[in-house]
Amino acid sequence: MQCKKDEMVFGIKRAMPIVMGYIPVGFALGVMAADAGLSPLQMGLMSLLVYAGSAQFIAVDLLGSGVSAVPIIITTFLVNLRHFLFSASLAPHFRQIKQSFIPIISFFLTDESFAVSITDAEERPLTHVYYFSLYITAYSSWVFSTIIGAALGNLIPDTKALGFDFALPGMFLALLCMQLKNAKFVLIALISGFLSIFFMYTIPGNWNVILATIIAAMIGVFISHEN
Protein backbone atom coordinates (compact mmCIF):
# COMPACT_ATOMS: atom_id res chain seq x y z
CA MET A 1 0.00 0.00 0.00
CA GLN A 2 2.80 2.36 0.99
CA CYS A 3 4.35 1.71 -2.40
CA LYS A 4 1.14 2.67 -4.22
CA LYS A 5 0.86 5.83 -2.18
CA ASP A 6 4.47 6.75 -2.97
CA GLU A 7 3.84 6.27 -6.68
CA MET A 8 0.78 8.48 -6.46
CA VAL A 9 2.59 11.25 -4.62
CA PHE A 10 5.49 11.00 -7.07
CA GLY A 11 3.14 11.24 -10.06
CA ILE A 12 1.33 14.27 -8.66
CA LYS A 13 4.61 15.98 -7.79
CA ARG A 14 5.97 15.43 -11.28
CA ALA A 15 2.79 17.00 -12.68
CA MET A 16 3.32 20.31 -10.87
CA PRO A 17 5.39 22.11 -13.53
CA ILE A 18 2.82 20.96 -16.13
CA VAL A 19 0.01 22.38 -13.97
CA MET A 20 1.86 25.69 -13.62
CA GLY A 21 2.16 25.84 -17.37
CA TYR A 22 -1.37 24.68 -18.16
CA ILE A 23 -3.23 27.08 -15.87
CA PRO A 24 -2.24 30.35 -17.61
CA VAL A 25 -2.48 28.78 -21.07
CA GLY A 26 -5.88 27.26 -20.18
CA PHE A 27 -7.09 30.65 -18.94
CA ALA A 28 -5.95 32.26 -22.18
CA LEU A 29 -7.78 29.65 -24.24
CA GLY A 30 -10.94 30.09 -22.16
CA VAL A 31 -10.85 33.86 -22.60
CA MET A 32 -10.42 33.43 -26.35
CA ALA A 33 -13.28 30.89 -26.45
CA ALA A 34 -15.58 33.32 -24.62
CA ASP A 35 -14.71 35.97 -27.21
CA ALA A 36 -15.51 33.45 -29.94
CA GLY A 37 -18.96 32.94 -28.40
CA LEU A 38 -18.44 29.64 -26.57
CA SER A 39 -20.02 29.12 -23.14
CA PRO A 40 -17.93 27.78 -20.23
CA LEU A 41 -19.84 24.49 -20.57
CA GLN A 42 -18.96 24.22 -24.27
CA MET A 43 -15.34 25.05 -23.47
CA GLY A 44 -15.23 22.44 -20.71
CA LEU A 45 -16.74 19.77 -22.94
CA MET A 46 -14.09 20.38 -25.59
CA SER A 47 -11.27 20.23 -23.04
CA LEU A 48 -12.69 17.05 -21.49
CA LEU A 49 -13.02 15.22 -24.79
CA VAL A 50 -10.14 16.60 -26.87
CA TYR A 51 -7.52 17.65 -24.29
CA ALA A 52 -4.98 19.08 -26.71
CA GLY A 53 -3.78 22.65 -26.25
CA SER A 54 -2.65 23.81 -29.65
CA ALA A 55 -5.46 22.00 -31.49
CA GLN A 56 -8.04 23.59 -29.20
CA PHE A 57 -6.61 27.07 -29.81
CA ILE A 58 -6.90 26.50 -33.54
CA ALA A 59 -10.39 25.01 -33.23
CA VAL A 60 -11.65 27.94 -31.14
CA ASP A 61 -10.16 30.35 -33.64
CA LEU A 62 -11.84 28.53 -36.54
CA LEU A 63 -15.18 28.35 -34.67
CA GLY A 64 -14.95 32.07 -34.02
CA SER A 65 -14.51 32.78 -37.70
CA GLY A 66 -17.46 30.55 -38.58
CA VAL A 67 -15.57 27.70 -40.24
CA SER A 68 -17.68 24.53 -40.63
CA ALA A 69 -17.16 21.25 -38.75
CA VAL A 70 -15.28 19.11 -41.27
CA PRO A 71 -12.25 21.40 -41.73
CA ILE A 72 -12.05 21.81 -37.94
CA ILE A 73 -12.04 18.03 -37.43
CA ILE A 74 -9.40 17.49 -40.15
CA THR A 75 -7.18 20.24 -38.72
CA THR A 76 -7.52 18.76 -35.23
CA PHE A 77 -6.48 15.36 -36.57
CA LEU A 78 -3.43 16.73 -38.38
CA VAL A 79 -2.26 18.94 -35.53
CA ASN A 80 -2.57 16.04 -33.08
CA LEU A 81 -0.99 13.41 -35.31
CA ARG A 82 2.34 13.87 -33.53
CA HIS A 83 0.90 11.98 -30.55
CA PHE A 84 1.36 8.70 -32.41
CA LEU A 85 5.11 9.14 -31.94
CA PHE A 86 4.64 9.60 -28.19
CA SER A 87 2.35 6.61 -28.04
CA ALA A 88 4.84 4.42 -29.93
CA SER A 89 7.72 5.60 -27.72
CA LEU A 90 5.86 4.70 -24.54
CA ALA A 91 4.71 1.31 -25.84
CA PRO A 92 7.80 -0.63 -24.61
CA HIS A 93 7.41 0.95 -21.16
CA PHE A 94 3.73 0.04 -21.06
CA ARG A 95 4.61 -3.69 -21.18
CA GLN A 96 4.85 -3.70 -17.38
CA ILE A 97 1.34 -2.39 -16.78
CA LYS A 98 -2.00 -4.13 -17.18
CA GLN A 99 -2.94 -4.24 -20.88
CA SER A 100 -6.51 -3.10 -20.26
CA PHE A 101 -5.21 0.17 -18.75
CA ILE A 102 -3.25 1.14 -21.88
CA PRO A 103 -6.21 2.46 -23.94
CA ILE A 104 -7.28 4.57 -20.96
CA ILE A 105 -3.83 5.89 -20.01
CA SER A 106 -2.95 6.80 -23.59
CA PHE A 107 -5.97 9.13 -23.82
CA PHE A 108 -4.02 11.55 -21.60
CA LEU A 109 -0.90 11.83 -23.80
CA THR A 110 0.12 15.42 -24.47
CA ASP A 111 3.48 16.98 -25.31
CA GLU A 112 4.02 17.74 -21.65
CA SER A 113 2.70 14.57 -20.02
CA PHE A 114 4.64 12.48 -22.55
CA ALA A 115 7.86 14.40 -21.92
CA VAL A 116 7.69 13.92 -18.15
CA SER A 117 6.59 10.29 -18.19
CA ILE A 118 9.07 9.07 -20.85
CA THR A 119 11.89 10.65 -18.82
CA ASP A 120 10.70 8.90 -15.65
CA ALA A 121 10.06 5.62 -17.48
CA GLU A 122 13.64 5.58 -18.78
CA GLU A 123 14.84 5.90 -15.16
CA ARG A 124 12.88 3.02 -13.68
CA PRO A 125 9.79 0.84 -14.25
CA LEU A 126 6.56 2.68 -13.45
CA THR A 127 3.15 1.44 -12.38
CA HIS A 128 -0.27 2.46 -13.66
CA VAL A 129 -0.70 4.38 -10.38
CA TYR A 130 2.08 6.75 -11.43
CA TYR A 131 0.66 7.26 -14.93
CA PHE A 132 -2.87 7.90 -13.67
CA SER A 133 -1.67 10.33 -10.97
CA LEU A 134 0.55 12.32 -13.31
CA TYR A 135 -1.87 12.34 -16.23
CA ILE A 136 -5.09 13.05 -14.35
CA THR A 137 -3.49 15.87 -12.33
CA ALA A 138 -2.34 17.56 -15.52
CA TYR A 139 -5.69 16.85 -17.25
CA SER A 140 -7.79 18.31 -14.41
CA SER A 141 -5.73 21.49 -14.32
CA TRP A 142 -6.28 21.92 -18.06
CA VAL A 143 -10.02 21.27 -18.01
CA PHE A 144 -10.67 23.53 -15.02
CA SER A 145 -8.49 26.41 -16.15
CA THR A 146 -10.14 26.53 -19.59
CA ILE A 147 -13.60 26.56 -17.96
CA ILE A 148 -12.58 29.30 -15.51
CA GLY A 149 -11.04 31.29 -18.34
CA ALA A 150 -14.27 31.06 -20.35
CA ALA A 151 -16.39 31.96 -17.30
CA LEU A 152 -14.36 34.91 -16.06
CA GLY A 153 -13.16 36.16 -19.43
CA ASN A 154 -11.18 39.34 -19.17
CA LEU A 155 -11.26 39.38 -15.35
CA ILE A 156 -8.28 37.02 -15.55
CA PRO A 157 -5.11 38.94 -14.62
CA ASP A 158 -2.16 39.03 -16.99
CA THR A 159 -0.05 36.04 -15.98
CA LYS A 160 2.74 37.01 -18.35
CA ALA A 161 4.14 39.55 -15.92
CA LEU A 162 4.41 36.78 -13.32
CA GLY A 163 6.66 34.69 -15.53
CA PHE A 164 4.22 31.80 -15.99
CA ASP A 165 4.97 31.65 -19.70
CA PHE A 166 8.34 30.17 -18.76
CA ALA A 167 6.74 27.19 -16.95
CA LEU A 168 6.48 24.90 -19.97
CA PRO A 169 9.71 25.97 -21.74
CA GLY A 170 11.55 25.63 -18.40
CA MET A 171 10.16 22.14 -17.96
CA PHE A 172 11.11 21.17 -21.52
CA LEU A 173 14.62 22.52 -20.91
CA ALA A 174 15.14 20.45 -17.74
CA LEU A 175 13.72 17.33 -19.38
CA LEU A 176 15.88 17.88 -22.46
CA CYS A 177 18.96 18.11 -20.25
CA MET A 178 18.12 14.69 -18.85
CA GLN A 179 18.10 13.29 -22.38
CA LEU A 180 21.53 14.60 -23.36
CA LYS A 181 23.45 11.42 -22.52
CA ASN A 182 26.25 12.00 -25.06
CA ALA A 183 27.31 14.17 -28.00
CA LYS A 184 25.02 12.28 -30.38
CA PHE A 185 21.95 13.38 -28.44
CA VAL A 186 23.21 16.98 -28.24
CA LEU A 187 23.58 17.00 -32.02
CA ILE A 188 20.07 15.55 -32.54
CA ALA A 189 18.66 18.15 -30.12
CA LEU A 190 20.26 21.02 -32.04
CA ILE A 191 19.16 19.66 -35.42
CA SER A 192 15.59 19.12 -34.25
CA GLY A 193 15.35 22.51 -32.54
CA PHE A 194 16.51 24.49 -35.52
CA LEU A 195 14.51 22.36 -37.97
CA SER A 196 11.43 23.06 -35.86
CA ILE A 197 11.94 26.81 -36.17
CA PHE A 198 12.73 26.46 -39.87
CA PHE A 199 9.55 24.48 -40.58
CA MET A 200 7.52 26.90 -38.48
CA TYR A 201 8.34 29.60 -41.03
CA THR A 202 8.31 27.50 -44.18
CA ILE A 203 5.40 25.07 -43.78
CA PRO A 204 2.01 26.35 -42.63
CA GLY A 205 -0.22 24.36 -40.29
CA ASN A 206 1.73 23.38 -37.17
CA TRP A 207 3.77 20.66 -38.86
CA ASN A 208 7.07 21.87 -37.42
CA VAL A 209 7.26 19.67 -34.30
CA ILE A 210 6.34 16.39 -35.98
CA LEU A 211 8.54 16.98 -39.07
CA ALA A 212 11.55 18.12 -37.05
CA THR A 213 11.19 15.14 -34.72
CA ILE A 214 10.94 12.53 -37.48
CA ILE A 215 13.85 13.95 -39.49
CA ALA A 216 16.11 14.44 -36.47
CA ALA A 217 15.36 10.97 -35.07
CA MET A 218 16.08 9.46 -38.52
CA ILE A 219 19.41 11.28 -38.60
CA GLY A 220 20.02 9.80 -35.16
CA VAL A 221 19.46 6.30 -36.54
CA PHE A 222 21.89 6.95 -39.41
CA ILE A 223 24.69 8.33 -37.26
CA SER A 224 24.26 5.40 -34.87
CA HIS A 225 24.86 3.02 -37.76
CA GLU A 226 27.99 4.87 -38.84
CA ASN A 227 29.72 3.96 -35.58
Binding site: P17, L45, M46, L81, V116, L168, A216, G220
Partner: protein, 108 residues
Amino acid sequence: MKIDLNYIYLVLAMGLVTYLPRMLPATLLSKQKIPEVFVKFLSFVPTAVLSALLFPGVLTVENKLNIGISNPLFVAAVLTFPLAYKTKNMFATVLLGMGIVILHNIFV
Protein backbone atom coordinates in the same frame (compact mmCIF):
# COMPACT_ATOMS: atom_id res chain seq x y z
CA MET B 1 -27.49 26.24 -20.19
CA LYS B 2 -28.33 24.88 -23.62
CA ILE B 3 -25.73 23.14 -25.74
CA ASP B 4 -26.27 22.82 -29.44
CA LEU B 5 -26.25 19.15 -30.52
CA ASN B 6 -24.04 19.97 -33.50
CA TYR B 7 -21.39 21.25 -31.12
CA ILE B 8 -21.45 17.98 -29.18
CA TYR B 9 -20.98 16.01 -32.41
CA LEU B 10 -18.12 18.32 -33.35
CA VAL B 11 -16.18 17.89 -30.09
CA LEU B 12 -16.88 14.14 -30.09
CA ALA B 13 -15.36 13.88 -33.56
CA MET B 14 -12.41 16.08 -32.55
CA GLY B 15 -11.93 13.86 -29.51
CA LEU B 16 -11.99 10.69 -31.59
CA VAL B 17 -9.46 11.85 -34.21
CA THR B 18 -7.19 12.98 -31.36
CA TYR B 19 -7.62 9.78 -29.35
CA LEU B 20 -6.83 7.26 -32.10
CA PRO B 21 -3.20 8.33 -32.78
CA ARG B 22 -2.69 8.53 -29.01
CA MET B 23 -4.06 5.07 -28.32
CA LEU B 24 -3.32 2.80 -31.30
CA PRO B 25 0.52 2.64 -31.30
CA ALA B 26 0.73 2.08 -27.51
CA THR B 27 -1.99 -0.56 -27.56
CA LEU B 28 -0.72 -2.45 -30.62
CA LEU B 29 3.05 -2.14 -30.11
CA SER B 30 3.10 -3.00 -26.41
CA LYS B 31 2.11 -6.57 -27.31
CA GLN B 32 4.71 -7.31 -29.95
CA LYS B 33 8.40 -7.09 -30.66
CA ILE B 34 9.42 -3.81 -32.28
CA PRO B 35 12.09 -3.95 -35.06
CA GLU B 36 15.55 -2.92 -33.88
CA VAL B 37 15.82 0.07 -36.24
CA PHE B 38 12.48 1.44 -35.04
CA VAL B 39 13.58 1.03 -31.40
CA LYS B 40 16.68 3.07 -32.28
CA PHE B 41 14.48 5.69 -33.96
CA LEU B 42 12.20 5.87 -30.92
CA SER B 43 15.20 6.32 -28.60
CA PHE B 44 15.80 9.70 -30.25
CA VAL B 45 12.16 10.81 -30.19
CA PRO B 46 12.11 12.33 -26.66
CA THR B 47 15.25 14.40 -27.34
CA ALA B 48 13.95 15.52 -30.72
CA VAL B 49 10.43 16.35 -29.50
CA LEU B 50 11.64 18.31 -26.48
CA SER B 51 14.00 20.34 -28.61
CA ALA B 52 11.38 20.89 -31.31
CA LEU B 53 9.02 22.27 -28.65
CA LEU B 54 11.62 24.24 -26.70
CA PHE B 55 13.43 26.11 -29.48
CA PRO B 56 10.43 27.90 -31.05
CA GLY B 57 9.16 28.62 -27.52
CA VAL B 58 12.26 30.46 -26.34
CA LEU B 59 13.83 31.72 -29.58
CA THR B 60 10.75 33.38 -31.05
CA VAL B 61 8.44 36.09 -29.75
CA GLU B 62 5.03 36.37 -31.39
CA ASN B 63 6.27 34.28 -34.31
CA LYS B 64 9.37 36.41 -34.90
CA LEU B 65 12.88 35.10 -34.33
CA ASN B 66 14.32 36.93 -31.33
CA ILE B 67 17.65 35.66 -30.04
CA GLY B 68 18.59 38.56 -27.81
CA ILE B 69 18.36 40.24 -24.46
CA SER B 70 14.93 41.72 -25.21
CA ASN B 71 13.38 38.23 -25.25
CA PRO B 72 12.64 37.29 -21.60
CA LEU B 73 12.16 33.58 -22.27
CA PHE B 74 15.45 33.36 -24.17
CA VAL B 75 17.30 35.12 -21.34
CA ALA B 76 15.64 32.84 -18.77
CA ALA B 77 16.48 29.71 -20.80
CA VAL B 78 20.15 30.69 -21.18
CA LEU B 79 20.53 31.59 -17.50
CA THR B 80 18.75 28.50 -16.18
CA PHE B 81 20.55 26.11 -18.52
CA PRO B 82 23.52 25.46 -16.15
CA LEU B 83 21.11 24.70 -13.30
CA ALA B 84 18.93 22.50 -15.51
CA TYR B 85 21.96 20.63 -16.85
CA LYS B 86 23.58 20.12 -13.45
CA THR B 87 20.57 19.32 -11.27
CA LYS B 88 18.08 17.99 -13.90
CA ASN B 89 15.47 19.45 -11.56
CA MET B 90 12.34 20.60 -13.42
CA PHE B 91 10.85 22.50 -10.55
CA ALA B 92 13.99 24.45 -9.63
CA THR B 93 14.53 25.28 -13.30
CA VAL B 94 10.96 26.50 -13.75
CA LEU B 95 10.98 28.60 -10.56
CA LEU B 96 14.37 30.21 -11.23
CA GLY B 97 13.32 30.92 -14.82
CA MET B 98 10.03 32.48 -13.74
CA GLY B 99 11.95 34.70 -11.31
CA ILE B 100 14.25 35.79 -14.11
CA VAL B 101 11.27 36.57 -16.36
CA ILE B 102 9.69 38.69 -13.60
CA LEU B 103 12.94 40.63 -13.11
CA HIS B 104 13.30 40.97 -16.88
CA ASN B 105 9.79 42.38 -17.18
CA ILE B 106 10.58 44.94 -14.48
CA PHE B 107 14.07 46.02 -15.49
CA VAL B 108 14.59 45.40 -19.22
